[in-house]
Structure formats: C-alpha cells, structure tokens
Amino acid sequence: MFKDDRAFIENKYHKTDEFFDPYKRMSYHGYPYDKTTGMEDSEIQKGLNDLYEQIKFLPHPKAKAVCAKYVLENTMIDVNEHDFFVGFGA
C-alpha cells in the first residue's frame, strides 16, 4: 500500500532529516543502495575522468554516449519492496 511506503519513498532522493538544497539539480542522496550493484559516486567520477582522456578525440555525440554508457553500467541500482519504480544511484 502506498500509504505504508510513502515515508520510505520520501527518502529515495534525499534524506528528509538532512539538509537539501532544492535549487541544486540531480544531487540525489537518499537511502543507501546495495553496494554490490555498482560503484560509489567518487569511483565513477574518477573512472569517467580517465575514460574521457581516452575518448576525447571522438565526435561529441559518440564521446558523450560512451561516458553515459559508463555511468549507466556502473551506477548503483535499486528494486525496492517499498516502490514500484526502480532506483538509480546517480
């Protein structure tokens, strides 16, 4: 039932007991995801920077897509008992 899950989903993107700047886009840090499903943000960031050096000579649409692919492959994911919609740890 949604009414039982509401409080949980409220913490999906931001922890409600922590400060959240609503002007800051896409800085989602809610309840923790299963660490076996992907990397921490800092690892992805490092990996992306390294990857960029290898692909920076590609045409931009392709280079951007390769970076997006890297993040999608490595971001943590969630399929939660409290939600019908999936979670991305981006």
Partner: protein, 649 residues
C-alpha cells in the same frame, strides 16, 4: 553525475571559441541587467513515439534511419556520429534495464515479480500496460536528467491523453482495476514530490480534439483525485482551458486551488494557440501544442525553444539615470543617452528608456546568436533526438536544429516595475514638476533615505500598472509592443526565430536583489514585478482592473508564454458561488485571448498566523512563479512580500 563532457565542452566553447561572448555574458549577469546562460532545460520528447516504440523500438528506428542515410549516400561523418551517439546511448539504456531486471529476479519481496516482469517487457519492446508506460516515462526522465543532462519539461504529451489507451485497455482486459491504477499513480506522481526540485516537474492535462470536443477524460479526473488526496505540489499541473472544458473539471481544480493544496496553472487554449500560430505553426500544430516548463508553449515533437536572456527591463530606466554607466561593473555598459539635465522633456526621457531597453534586448540576442551555434557541440541531445523522427530523417541533433521550429526565447522581466517607473517620472518630474530629475536621481542613489514624503506620494499614485488607469495602460500597451516587436520572429542562430516571453521565473527575486532603488518607489533589493503581474501592492482597483491592464500587454504577442498571477481573498471564492467567480474571471481572460492565469487564494490573517506559528502550517503552499512552495520554505523577506500583496486584495 555525467557532467564530465558537458563541463569540459562548455568551457571549451565559452573560454576558447567565444571568449568575448563569454565575457559579455559574465558582465550581463554581474550587472543584473540581463541574466543569461546556455539553456538545456526545455525539452519534451515525443512521448507518443517513446511509448509506442519503447527504448528498443527507438533504437531500431535510429538504426533504420542510419542505414537509410547510408544507402542514399547521405551519411556524412557528422551524421554518422549523430546516429552512433544515439545508438550507443540507447544500447546502454536497454542494458541498464536488463541489469535492473536481473536484479529484480534476485528479490523475493511482494513487488519484485511484478517489477521484474515490467522491466523484462520494457527492455524488449514497447510498454504493454499503464504500469509499464509509467515505468518507461520515469526511466526516460531519470536517464535524460541525470545521465544525458537534459531536463524533461513535461511528463507525457498531456499525461491523461498519453496514458489513455493504456488505461482503457487495462480495464477492458482486466489487467488492472481503477483502484489499482489509482495506487500506481500514487507511486508514480510521488516520485517528483520526493525529488523535490524547486522549479517543480510539469505535466499537463486536457486540450481540445480536432472536432472541437474536449480531451478531458476519466483519467484526467483520476489523476487529479489522486493528486488532491495526496496533498502534494510536485509535479505541478497545467490544465488546458477552453470553452469545451467540462464544468465538473473546472470546479474540481478551482476547489483544489482555493483549498491551497495544489500546484495548478490554467492555460487558456485560444490565446496560447494564437501565440503559437504567430510564428508559423498551423492550426493543427497549435491545437496539439505541448505545455512545457512553467506555462511555455511548443509545437509537439517539432519545437525546441531555448531560454536565452532574462532582461531586467527596469534597468533600462536606471541606465537612463546613469547615462549608461554601470556601478557594479564600474564601466559604461548601457548606451550613452545623455546627461539627466539634458532630458528636458518626457519625450526625451521616454525615448532614452526605449533606446536603453532596445540595447539590452539586442545585447541578449547578439550573445545568443553566437553561443547557440554550439549547443549540440556542448551537449549533444542523444536521448531526445532519438524520439524526434524529423531529426532522424535529417540526421541532425534535434536540440540544435533538427525540429521544424528551432526557436529561442527572450524574457521580459520586471515589466510592471518598468511601466510604473516610467509613469512615475512622467507624473512627478515632467507633468507635475514635483521633483527635479536630478533630485529624483539623488533619491534613488540614497535608496529614498530622506525622501520619505516623495516616496509615499509616488507609491500612492494611481498611475500604476494593474489599475486599469487609461494613460498607464496606453503606455503599457506601447512598451509591451515595443519589446515584442524587437524580439519576435527575428532569426536566431539555429534556423528558427526569437520569441518574446512574459515570464520571470525566479528573476523577480534574484534580479530584484541586484537592482537599486527605482523611480516607482521601490527600494533597492526589493522584488521586481513578476510575470505580467503588478508590482507588489500597486494594484488597488481590484481583480477586474488588473485583468484589463494585463490584457493591454496583448498576451498572445508573447509567442512563448505570458502569465498573470491573480490573488483572491478566500472569502471571495467560498461556497458554490465562489467557483462561479473563479470561472467568470478565468473565462473573461480566456475569451480576450489571455494565456495563462495562476491563482493564489488566501487571506492576510492566515499568512500572518503561519509566519508566527510555522509548525501549525506545515502544508500551507503559495504559488511562486510557475511552481508552488511550502510557506515555511520561503524566507521571511519573501513571506512579507506575500503578506503585503494579500493586504491589498
């Protein structure tokens, strides 16, 4: 997270390719005269294509178009890169859905098998039912915003109509009951409440079919019922209004609005359609337009309209006072329009204001003409482009120039502050000669300190926008026409045109903070007027007078959007009669081609109590500028501005 390419290419373009433009934009922002940045925040995918084809179908379609270009000998290196970007990214989207599916299979909780089945289906093809369609919309949204760096500015092309066929089929096939669908909507809509972005996530409802009948359906009511029951204000909802809009629907939204647990804006189709047709859209295109962002219009699946600069219009007056010198930049930035003493007549002064204003408009468009050449270099729109068939046919980025209407918007901010300032100078300096213009300059310089009497006189003058004052409204009409004539339909850098907008977003606060005292009696740092609304506390003749004044701006001449905020006392809209009052106001505006209208209903006592006892008013919301916020999330300064407005109702 995926900002590595965006940040690098943004800097590469602005710092190395167009450093002069970059510096000019920095100065525009620092001066507070124009707020400007490269916008990637206004796309609405072709949701019909997304849901009809699914991610796999979109990928296949892109591959098919690539092959067609190859066979036709039209696959240039650039086009190949365009298609390769789409193909790689959509393969990655499908791969993460597969990863989610496999992860779901490892779960044993009560929702796991349903989620797994959904993911398997949307990995392989188009969604089969309303839950799968919602999951596709949600996944598209998240990946576009978080991984592709494009804000998705509407959920569905009219969520009720986008999901209608799924709804009907699910009921017919006993896939879901109405109650189960309601429950799914609770989970779906609540995602955006939880995301909690300040500007809100838009979706719109309704519209008109080609035969003139309404597009409102059972699902429109179901969505509103769920939204109302949850008491959320995000997503924000735009409702298309026309003569055919069922009274039952109208009264439902009015009731929600007056109960202050809503985030709803009324978008009047006749005025909006006229606006869209003014830049070349056909009747059918206008009829099917999307509402996007706060209340912007756009031809469905065939228009990109970027925001360029938010022009702080009252700066045109301030630059006349300083002969174009900008104190923040410590340099000449506006035009030299002559020393104040040389402006012997109001005609001299008014001409100078228009010159300064035109200069700000040109400065904005000139910057956009340079940087908008590079939008797809900075941020190729792989996700979005795949949804736009026309872009695939051409083999060019949809956000750059791949749609039929590749437009750019220029925003008129603080317009009422401009009108009121011009009228104050006319009345007090030139007509009544109560104050010399150099003395008025001194008053502004001192932020009205020691000029209290003059300040009160000016603020009390009836010659203010929003009062249906004859002369003021003539100047309003003239200045509005001046702005729109300088912007509308001028070619932009992407094969489209510029469009005028009467919409301030947060700039009425941000630019207000950066703007010194103004001749209308406003103090330095105070809010500027927002949208097509009057300056705070200046409309004193009631709501009909306000509507009449607003209509003199000719809303449909603002091709992208135009919004009027109406404040009503709760006692004016109570009971059944109150619903008819709201309908009458809205319809009188709509019938005279107004575009959008947003209502704020409250009384000053409630607001004051809420300020003193915030813990008792945790759910009190106010409409800000295209979105709602909780009263308790406003600063005291912002709350005071609302109280001041409410005192005037």
């Amino acid at each position: 997270m995926q900002r590595v390419t965006f940040d690098k290419w943004y800097n590469e373009i602005f710092l190395t390719k167009i450093p002069q433009v970059s510096e000019k934009m920095r100065e525009m922002n620092e001066s507070g005269a124009v707020t400007i940045w490269a916008d990637f925040d206004h796309v609405v995918p072709d949701w019909d294509a997304v849901l009809k084809l699914g991610f796999a179908g979109l990928l296949k379609r892109a591959c098919d178009f690539k092959n067609r270009h190859m066979q036709n000998g039209t696959l240039t290196e650039e086009k190949a890169a365009f298609f390769d970007g789409i193909i790689t990214e959509y393969e990655a989207v499908i791969a993460i859905i597969d990863r989610l599916y496999k992860y779901a299979l490892t779960k044993t909780h009560s929702k796991a098998s349903k989620i797994a089945e959904c993911l398997k289906n949307i990995r392989d093809g188009a969604p089969n039912n309303i839950y799968e369609a919602m999951q596709v919309i949600y996944i598209y949204f998240m990946i576009s915003e978080c991984f592709d760096i494009y804000q998705v500015r509407s959920l569905g092309n009219g969520l009720d109509n986008t999901l209608w066929s799924f709804y009907i089929n699910d009921l017919k096939n006993n896939t879901y009951t109405v109650e189960e669908i309601k429950e799914l909507f609770r989970y779906f809509l609540f995602q955006w409440q939880a995301i909690g972005n300040y500007w809100g996530q838009p979706l719109y409802l309704g519209g008109t079919n080609k035969d003139g009948s309404t597009k409102y359906n059972e699902l429109s009511y179901l969505i509103l019922d769920v939204y109302d029951e949850m008491g959320i204000y995000n997503p924000k909802i735009q409702v298309k209004i026309n003569e055919n809009t069922p009274e039952r629907f109208l009264f439902k939204i009015f009731d929600m609005i007056r109960c202050s647990h809503n985030s709803i804006v009324c978008c009047c189709e006749p005025g909006m359609m006229r606006a869209v047709m003014n830049y070349g859209a056909t009747y059918d295109e206008a009829l099917n337009m999307d509402i996007r962002g706060c209340y912007e219009t756009g031809v469905r699946a065939n228009e990109v309209s970027t925001g360029t600069g938010y022009i702080n219009s009252v700066c045109a007056v301030l630059y006349v006072f300083s002969d174009g010198y900008d104190k923040k930049l410590k340099k000449q930035f506006g035009l030299k329009t002559g020393r104040l003493e040389e402006l012997k007549t109001f005609e001299d002064f008014y001409a100078a204001v228009l010159k300064q204003w035109e200069n700000l408009i040109n400065m904005t468009m000139n910057a956009a003409l340079e940087y908008e050449k590079y939008l797809s270099v900075i941020n190729p729109s792989n996700m979005y482009s795949a949804t736009i068939e026309g872009a695939l046919e051409k083999g060019v980025d949809a956000y750059q120039c791949g749609v039929k209407f590749n437009n750019s918007a220029v925003l008129n901010c603080g317009f009422a502050s401009l009108v009121d300032s011009v009228m104050a100078v006319k009345e007090f300096v030139y007509d009544k000669k109560i104050v010399d213009i150099t003395e008025l300059a001194a008053a502004l310089e001192n932020n009205w300190k020691n000029y209290d009497e003059l300040n009160v006189k000016i603020r009390k003058s009836p010659h203010k926008y929003g009062n249906n004052d004859y002369e003021t409204d003539l100047y309003t009409r003239a200045m509005s026409a001046f702005f729109t004539s300088k912007v509308n339909n001028r070619p932009n850098a992407r094969g489209g045109v510029f469009k005028a907008v009467m919409h301030s977003a947060m700039q009425f606060v941000e630019q207000g903070r950066a703007t010194g005292a103004t001749p209308d009696g406003r103090f330095a740092g105070d809010e500027l007027s927002k949208n097509a609304s009057p300056s705070v506390g200046m409309d004193k003749n009631g709501v009909t007078a306000l509507i009449n004044s607003a209509l003199t701006t000719v809303p449909s001449s603002y091709f992208e959007s135009h919004c009027l905020d109406i404040m009503l006392h709760s006692s004016a809209v109570c009971g059944e009669e109150g619903l008819y009052v709201m309908k009458s106001l809205l319809f009188s505006y709509m019938q005279r081609c107004g575009q959008s209208m947003q209502f704020n209903v409250f009384d000053v006592k409630t607001l004051k109590k809420a300020q003193e006892n915030p813990e008792k008013y945790k759910n009190l919301q106010v409409r800000v500028c295209g979105w709602n916020v909780l009263w308790n999330n406003l600063s005291r300064e912002e709350q005071n501005a609302y109280i001041k407005r409410a005192e005037n109702i």
